[in-house]
Symmetry: C3
Subunit: 320 residues, 3 copies
Amino acid sequence: MTSRLEETFYGQDFISVNQIKDRETVDELFDSAYEMEQAVAAHEVGDVLAGHAIPIIFYQPSTRTALSFLYAAKRLGAYSEAMHDMTFSSAAKGESLPDSIRAIQNVTSASAIVLRHPDDNSSQEAAYYADVPIINAGSGKREHPTQALLDLLTIHARRETLDNLKIALVGDLLYGRTVKSLALLLSRAGQNNQFTFVSAPQLRLPNEFLADLPNGTQFSQTENIQDALDADVLYMTRTQREWFEKEGKLDEYEELRAKLMLTKEMAQQMPEDSVIMHPLPRQEELRYGVDENPRAAYFDQMKYGLYMRMAILKAILVKG
Amino acid sequence: MTSRLEETFYGQDFISVNQIKDRETVDELFDSAYEMEQAVAAHEVGDVLAGHAIPIIFYQPSTRTALSFLYAAKRLGAYSEAMHDMTFSSAAKGESLPDSIRAIQNVTSASAIVLRHPDDNSSQEAAYYADVPIINAGSGKREHPTQALLDLLTIHARRETLDNLKIALVGDLLYGRTVKSLALLLSRAGQNNQFTFVSAPQLRLPNEFLADLPNGTQFSQTENIQDALDADVLYMTRTQREWFEKEGKLDEYEELRAKLMLTKEMAQQMPEDSVIMHPLPRQEELRYGVDENPRAAYFDQMKYGLYMRMAILKAILVKG
Amino acid sequence: MTSRLEETFYGQDFISVNQIKDRETVDELFDSAYEMEQAVAAHEVGDVLAGHAIPIIFYQPSTRTALSFLYAAKRLGAYSEAMHDMTFSSAAKGESLPDSIRAIQNVTSASAIVLRHPDDNSSQEAAYYADVPIINAGSGKREHPTQALLDLLTIHARRETLDNLKIALVGDLLYGRTVKSLALLLSRAGQNNQFTFVSAPQLRLPNEFLADLPNGTQFSQTENIQDALDADVLYMTRTQREWFEKEGKLDEYEELRAKLMLTKEMAQQMPEDSVIMHPLPRQEELRYGVDENPRAAYFDQMKYGLYMRMAILKAILVKG
């Protein structure tokens, strides 16, 4: 019998969280990721992807995400290499994405390609031209599906559930792709969760995004993190100074972001079993002393990223 | 009995297509490359180069060529690493090529070194100082021997012969090393082929190069690709705008390059079993619709590059 | 019984040569390094670090040191990747070293991290935040402990002793970390050695460094390399033009560095079994013809670097 995991992933591109239709798929990914955790801890030398090549190409540098995929591929036995900044390469001579994708696919005889790119539709475009699965490692302003899954895994590892949670998403919700991918995925995979979206009014989630949330999703919006300290999951992101600078509104920035910072004292007020997350890198939104709070899970997120990406690569390339 | 392949390659530098003296050597390389193709398709984990280190150092960035060698080395079991831009490294502090070559050889305990460099005599210089084989991955304006071999393999894979062919080489023939290496190799390895050199008058093959072609090589020259549409192999390259810009002749450029572009309609007029090639990256010389033509082989070239480089690395490092 | 090597290295950070307390530890490292030399020569495929990840992160580019660690890790079976210039990555967005270290540790599930950084206390800081051993691949102006050990191994391989030697250290002693690490280590591990420190008066070893040498260390200082040609080990380094340029004293520079250059003739006057060393890259301090002198050991140093780093990685990560 074909598993939901196999149906969703095997031989497929992974471009959007929307490809994950149900909780069963998520649970099967979790099971696989927890197995990966055991294998990594035991220093097992994986070979399920032996003989497969998985090039990793980034048009936006991100050391941590590139390394996460690279070591995930290596630990499963694949040949892999991270091109940390493709804008230095032939691309700089004006080569199109479709040509670069096909070139890298063929010179490596790739089984799958991991792509990060600033354009919203980059992964779709790459998938149209590639003969092998494209894995979206972050595209444009909206999608970062593997990050959403590792975030979900972190929540599950800490709380043992994806249901009946209060989730607060804080920071730059307008431009941030991480929070959007997470909200979409959790609203689909979990049940009876309540979202609080915390941001400056200028950086709220766009209305067209809110319209895409499943019917019946419970959410509220606020400008002040103080309103969200009862959350079970507090997901922090940075508010980009650049936006206010460009608009000539740096005064507003200083004032607004003060309402979006988490202090040591605020963290201590949160429910005891709550979880503080952040995709990192951070600026100053997590104040001195939060790191030492046991609720802080942002360094754990990166561990779960490795296990989840191992699970995803295996699901795409290994049948059954 | 020593094979021609072993005699030519084992333990040797590979710097110039001139090292390949006869068709037998080429045929033995082809046999090996076709075996590599099978191994790659079967996801075999090669180990003939296990325990060997093959550093790849590029003083001119070329993602695709570097990755081709890197995955060739990895797929044979070697330890390898691509230094995609050595001009960022110690070289920038003014280190000489002989010092850098010996440093990289010794810190890795290399079995061979792959080198790309803008100077014509860079590979010879490196080979003089190195204790291990140097493999030329493109040097200066004239030599790119592994590209010539992969081009030859592509022709052979499509046409099952290297003889009695009409070959048209199009574009910047003055500065392009790819076309020179290919013309030299094919004029030696094949029989009774006819070359047409298609370029702007300013960018013709230099006379000293034509003098190096074997006696009796049949060739003609033209400025217009229309004269070459009866070719069995149409090898396109780009004409560099930079040259005309530097000379203050951009008007001429626009006019000339129009005669060096292949349109969808022109491609359809070519013989049915003809092959359209290009080393990529391309600019606008392959017009809309050529990609879909079954004669187009330029993405296949890159596949054959992987197999050919695997065959070359093995021939240099494994006896017999 | 626990070996001295295990006591000193297993599960520990390696930040300073001061961690090596005695000759026994050095001898055990040498034994291990000579075994590595045999294994490398035999193209053995190591697996003692199979399943372990060792990311290599450099905030100061150094191709040769990064590659040395990279191939050391690979040859022992570890997963590894060299980030040759972290200043291009998230660090450029202002991420702190503690955050970057924990991120890279967790996304790779590292067993150890190799770090080069311009700050003197960078390795200590990283070690404070990391859960796994930090290996200092060069920090600030003072410490480069793995270089000191490979230098010692080179001396031992050539002279079969670390005692009763005349050692001359030449060049920029004020800013150079290599010479300081070597002098400290040899004054501790060897017996009855005599040091000559040869430098411009402006670039002498600082007094606080001299005070750190063990009691009874015999040394003299001079400005002229002619006074040191009776050395058993002549350790050359470059004198940095930048320092004199910054001070507006380029005239002095030309004059002073003439006294710090080794000519072919001077090298020939040295004792027959003496050893000429240099950490490379070099400028003009080794004049024409010295390379061909059998006393020259600077390319050998890099070979011993590979073996020594293999020995160090194994000592830190493998018990017993």
